[in-house]
């Protein structure tokens, strides 16, 4: 499923909502999550999962093709951990198929 399909599903279930608004709703949610992570905050959605950021130290990497050393600067990466209910749902369906 891609974003436009998600937007369509929302619009189908909310006939009083313009497609445009459904798209804005999805974008507002996603932007709020990214904004929070950019501030260094954590996003916890019970039953779904949690987004957070982790600091990666600067390191000496290598260009895998040439073997050359390259300095990799310290950076922050977004991480996601699925919630308990989500992990359960993923396997419920699998058990039925």
């Amino acid at each position: 499923m891609i974003k436009s399909e998600l937007v369509q599903k929302i619009a189908d279930q909310y006939p009083e909502l313009y497609q445009r608004d459904a798209e804005n709703v999805v974008n507002a949610i996603l932007e709020e999550i990214v904004d929070a992570l950019a501030r260094g905050d954590r996003v916890e959605i019970r039953g779904f999962g949690a987004f957070s950021v982790k600091k990666r130290d600067a390191r000496l990497g290598r260009n895998p093709r040439t073997g050359e050393h390259v300095a990799v600067a310290e950076k922050v990466v977004p991480v996601f951990k699925a919630g308990k209910e989500m992990r359960f749902r993923l396997n419920m369906e699998a058990a039925n198929t």
Binding site: I10, V25, E32, I33, E44, F48, P78, F80, E93
Partner: protein, 105 residues
């Protein structure tokens, strides 16, 4: 700088502020969006949200695990897990860049 936790309440508030729907409708829509994503993943379909990232479903095979405390071997059954792959734009944004010049993989 203290770390805060953003929850459903803040997500609905963002929808309320930006779209101008009622608070209860905003909360219901946040729930609906999360539900549609969960639904897709639970039937094994990945969800790709451009400029945000992708939620992918992976099948893990059976393997032998070990109770780290007792050292007793226990079989770990085959299972399905989800992973999140952040977009290049999200990666740039969390590093304080605006991400506008970044290719959306």
């Amino acid at each position: 700088m203290a770390q805060k936790t953003v929850t459903r309440a803040e997500l609905s508030e963002a929808v309320y502020q930006r779209i101008g729907l009622s608070r209860s409708e905003s909360a219901a829509l946040v729930e609906l969006v999360l539900n549609e994503i969960s639904e897709s993943l639970s039937i094994g379909n990945s969800v790709k949200l451009s400029s945000f990232g992708s939620f992918l479903v992976r099948d893990k095979g059976q393997r032998v695990g070990r109770n780290p405390k007792t050292g007793v071997e226990v079989p770990i059954e085959p299972r399905r897990v989800m992973v999140f792959k952040p977009s290049n734009i999200m990666k740039a944004r969390v590093n304080g860049l605006d991400g506008s010049g970044v290719a959306d993989d």
